[in-house]
Structures are given as structure tokens and as C-alpha cells.
């Protein structure tokens, strides 16, 4: 399996981009020697095009764009990871409940899934944030709470087919508790789609976070995030294109990498897609 995964070029390329970005995020202060918050309002420091000194140029307050983007990677990636962690907890719990117990529990969970899927996600998220107030933590929670439906469905479907298998009957006969059967025996056999779902969700969460920060409801300035750098950049798009172009490419490449990994994993893990 590992060998098969490493043979997929799209997975390897995607993973390399993500590792590169993640290590830039982790080692941010060592990579860029400019302080992402240090302003320099003199005319020859503001809105400077890319040069050897500032490789991505400077923003409207004379801050080094590269440095802000590297620190922005910290925000964007961590929002993504935590939101997906929340999604996993909710999605797996509800999916396991529905698939393992079936009946009324299943009915209730599936109706909830259908209703939630009817909401245009961004409207739902924005309404929640409008009521809760803009904050990174709310962004993480709200993205997690509005994106678990697909995962819950996948897990439920896997459980429905796995719970009738002999190994489950055997575990039951040995007196294992429901919790133990569900999480120790069945869940590990249902993990393949979870990995695919994680990678896609990471990409999706980064996209949503950047949109929210762009609209001013996500990460608040002066804390840099790729989305809120662009929301300043849009006012200077005629004169300072770099403020919009570079952070956008960072979002595009990181999200694309997650999607490529997810797509690759799906074709490795799903035997039906093999020919």
C-alpha cells in the first residue's frame, strides 16, 4: 500500500508542497528575518515591488510581504487542521452512531445530514460568525461544525456493511461492549475513506478560512492570514499587484496540493476505481 501511494506522482508532488509550506510555517521566524508586524511608513518603504531585499515586495504599511505570508501560512494551516479535527470528531461520532445502531438513531442523524447539506455553507457560516463575532476560534469551530456531513455519511455506509461481518459477530460473542466493537473493531476497517475525506476537507477549510478573512470576518488584522492580506491588496490591485497575486497563489497551491493528495489516495484506496 505504502509503495503504491509513493508511486502516485500526484500524491508525492502534493505532499512535497504541503511539507514545504508546513515547515515554512513552523520555522517562520528563521526563514524571514523581517518582522511581519514592523511598519515603515516612509514613501520609499511602502508598496515596494518585489526586489532582492523584499522578494515579494512590501505592503501598504511597509511590511515585508514574504514575512507576512510565511506567518500567514501558520494561521491558515492551523485553522485548517483544527477545523478538520473538529469535523472528524463530529463526523465520526455521528456516522458511527447512525451506522452502528441504525433504526431511529440512523433516521435522526441522516435527516440532520440532509438538512445541513441544504444550507449554502457560506451563508450558514457567515450568519453564525455575524452572531458570534469575528474570531479565529469561532472560524475553526464553525467550519468544523458545518463540514462533517459527507464524512458522517461515508462512515455510516461503511458501518452498515461491516456490522454484519463475522468478526463483529465474534467480538459480540466474546462479550465486547458496543463502544469497543464500534471503535476498536469496525472503525479501523472503515478508515480508508476517512483519509481521503481529511485531505479534501483540509483544502476546503483553508479556502473557507481565506474567504472569511477576505470578507473581514475571519482572522483579524494585524495578524496575517493569506485571506486578509488579499483583502488589503484589492485596494491596490492596479499599482501593487504583488499584494494580491502572491497570497492567492499560496492559497491555490496549498489547496490544490491537498486535493491532489486526496484524489490520489482515493484511487489507491478504492479498489473499484482500479482497472
Amino acid at each position: 500500500m505504502i509503495r503504491e501511494i509513493l508511486k502516485k506522482r500526484q500524491i508525492v508532488i502534493g505532499a512535497m508542497v504541503i511539507i514545504l509550506m508546513a515547515s515554512a510555517a513552523v520555522f517562520a521566524p528563521f526563514i524571514s528575518h523581517f518582522d511581519p508586524y514592523e511598519q515603515n511608513l516612509s514613501a520609499d518603504a511602502r508598496l515596494q515591488p518585489p526586489s532582492t531585499r523584499h522578494i515579494f515586495g512590501t505592503d501598504d504599511l511597509g511590511r515585508d510581504l514574504f514575512s507576512r505570508m510565511v506567518h500567514g501560512a501558520r494561521t491558515s494551516l492551523s485553522v485548517g487542521f483544527i477545523a478538520v479535527a473538529i469535523m472528524l470528531v463530529v463526523g465520526i461520532t455521528l456516522g458511527v452512531l447512525a451506522g452502528y445502531y441504525g433504526g431511529a438513531v440512523d433516521f435522526a442523524v441522516m435527516r440532520l445530514v440532509e438538512v445541513m447539506m441544504c444550507f449554502p455553507t457560506l451563508y450558514l457560516i457567515l450568519a453564525l460568525l455575524a452572531f458570534l463575532g469575528p474570531s479565529v476560534y469561532y472560524v475553526m469551530i464553525v467550519i468544523g461544525l458545518t463540514s462533517w456531513m459527507g464524512l458522517a455519511r461515508l462512515i455510516r455506509a461503511e458501518f452498515l456493511s461491516l456490522r454484519e461481518r463475522e468478526f463483529v459477530v465474534a467480538a459480540k460473542a466474546l462479550g465486547a461492549t458496543d463502544m469497543r466493537i464500534a471503535f476498536r473493531h469496525i472503525l479501523p476497517n472503515a478508515l480508508a475513506p476517512v483519509f481521503v475525506s481529511i485531505t479534501f476537507s483540509l483544502g476546503g477549510a483553508i479556502l473557507i478560512e481565506s474567504s472569511l478573512s477576505f470578507l473581514g470576518l475571519g482572522v483579524q488584522i494585524p495578524v496575517p492570514s493569506w485571506g486578509n492580506i488579499i483583502s488589503t491588496g484589492r485596494f491596490y490591485i492596479e499599482s501593487a499587484w504583488w499584494l494580491t497575486v502572491f497570497p492567492g497563489l499560496a492559497i491555490l497551491f496549498s489547496v490544490l496540493s491537498f486535493y491532489l493528495i486526496g484524489d490520489g489516495l482515493r484511487s489507491v484506496l478504492d479498489p473499484r476505481l482500479k482497472r
Binding site: 441544504c118 457560506l122 451563508y123 470578507l215 488579499i230 497575486v245 484524489d263
Partner: protein, 314 residues
Amino acid sequence: MLVVPMLLGISLITFVIAHLAPGDPTSVKYGLNPEVSETARARLKELYGLDRPVLVQFGLWLKRMAVLDFGNSFIDDRPVMAKIAERLPATLILNISALLIIYLIAIPIGISSAVRADSSYDKVTTVVLFAGYATPSFWFALILIWIFGFHLGWFPISGMRPWYVEYYTFFESAKDLLWRLALPVLTTSLLSLAGLSRYMRSSMLETLRQDYIRTARAKGLDEFTVIYKHALKNALLPIVTIASMILPGLLSGSFIIETIFGWPGMGRLGYEAIMNYDYPTIMGVVVIATFLTLLGLLLADILYAIVDPRIRYK
């Protein structure tokens, strides 16, 4: 799909959201602007009956939802529904045009990459489509504005109906509208293009593996007839229902796109409402957007029953 439980569920979830509004005095966030929040709180209390028992509140909420009465806007005190109604056409024009464009582009791409599965053409289109799927739409919109609006000056960058269309003939004003639709529609379509064409591709691949396709080939039909007469019809069936997966995304997208392009639709109304803490309007926009999605899903279900005779006789 059962409509009534869906509507109840939607009402319940929106009810919960509405009650996250700063109703209790402990909410520190809004304490920064005590006057506004005090008035807002009082008006919300009156609007949602916040001093009544929760069940009564939910009853009131359901009653309001049933007649689409979301109260009056905090900004100009006009009924929320009237404000939404005047913004709805713009949103519908934008999203329906985008839906048409998506289907027009995605289906041929899906067919051609299924027919040439695993060729380099297939691989390149896959990556390009994924890149489109991964592109933040607000950023794509800005790049389009930068290139086509500012540099080349080919397309207008903002607005839907400028004042001077009043002096245009019908034909000229339709042309002007199409002109102004170009960039927003392009941006709106980009996101959903990948999903639909991938879906079309796998549906086509699956159909091409069927026995009747082998039969068609065996009796000596040329490849064109096999693909476009025998396979296509069956491969298109599931594509009808995929609208249900595209619609929520489309509407979500129009929230941002309308804001950037100054398009006077419902998304922009929602954005303005959020920026002004206009809670009744926010709730109205969310509910109507969700109802629209539900309506779209219903239409897709009905359409599916029409195109697929197997469903009809069940």
C-alpha cells in the same frame, strides 16, 4: 426527499442560530458599543419574543417562517422580505447563467476525458479542473478585474444596471447585461466545473463498461454512434441530480462574488447586513437562500423522474 421534515429542520437550525444573537447582557463583544447593542437587543427581544418560554419562541419562529415574515430591517426599517425580493432577480440571473455555463462546459469535458481515459489529455484536464476547484473565487475575481477590467478594459468591473440603460433599447440593454454578467458568471462557474465534469467522466466510464455498449460495438457500430447515441443518454441521467450538489455551492459563491462585483443580489444584501449587525436581514437571507436550494433539489428530483422512466413507475 421529504419536504416537510426538511423545512422543519431548517427552521430549527436557523432558530438556534438566531438565538446566538447578543441577547444576554453578559455578551462582552457588543459591550464596546453599548448603545447600538442595547437597542438591537431590545428590538430582537420584541421581534423574537425572547422573554417567552423557548417552545413558544419556536412556535412564533415557525409561524414567521411559514409566511416568510422576518421582521423589519434594523437599517431602514423596511420589511426584510421586501428587501430580499428586490435583490432576488439579480442573484437568480447570475446563478442560472452560471449553471448553464457549467453544464455546457463540463459535460463535453467529462465525455472527452472519459473516452480518452488515462491519456495525457485526460490527465492535463484533471489537473486544470482541480486547479479551478482549488482557486479561491474572491481571488480569481480580483485577478479577472485586474486583467480584463483595468489592463485590457474589455469588461465593466462593477454593477449590473447602470442608470443609462433606461435610455437604451431593449436589445442594447440586454447586450449591456450580458457584458456585465461575463466576469461574475465566469468566476461563479469556475468552482463547480471540476465536480460536474469529474462526475460526468466517471458516469461515462461506467456506462462504457456496460454490456450493451459491448453489444453495440460488436454489431459494428462506429465509435461516434456508440458514444453519442448509446452511451451518452444513460451517462447523462445521474448528471441531472448532481445539480443538488452544485446549488448550495453556487449560492455560497455568489455571496462573495456579488460583494466583489457590486452585483445587487441577495449575497451582497447579506454581506451589507452582516457588516451592519442587521440581524433580521441576516436571518432572512440565510433562510431564503436555503429555501432556494431546497426548491432546486426538488426540481432536480422531479426532473430526474421525468428523464428516467425507471423511477416513474416506482
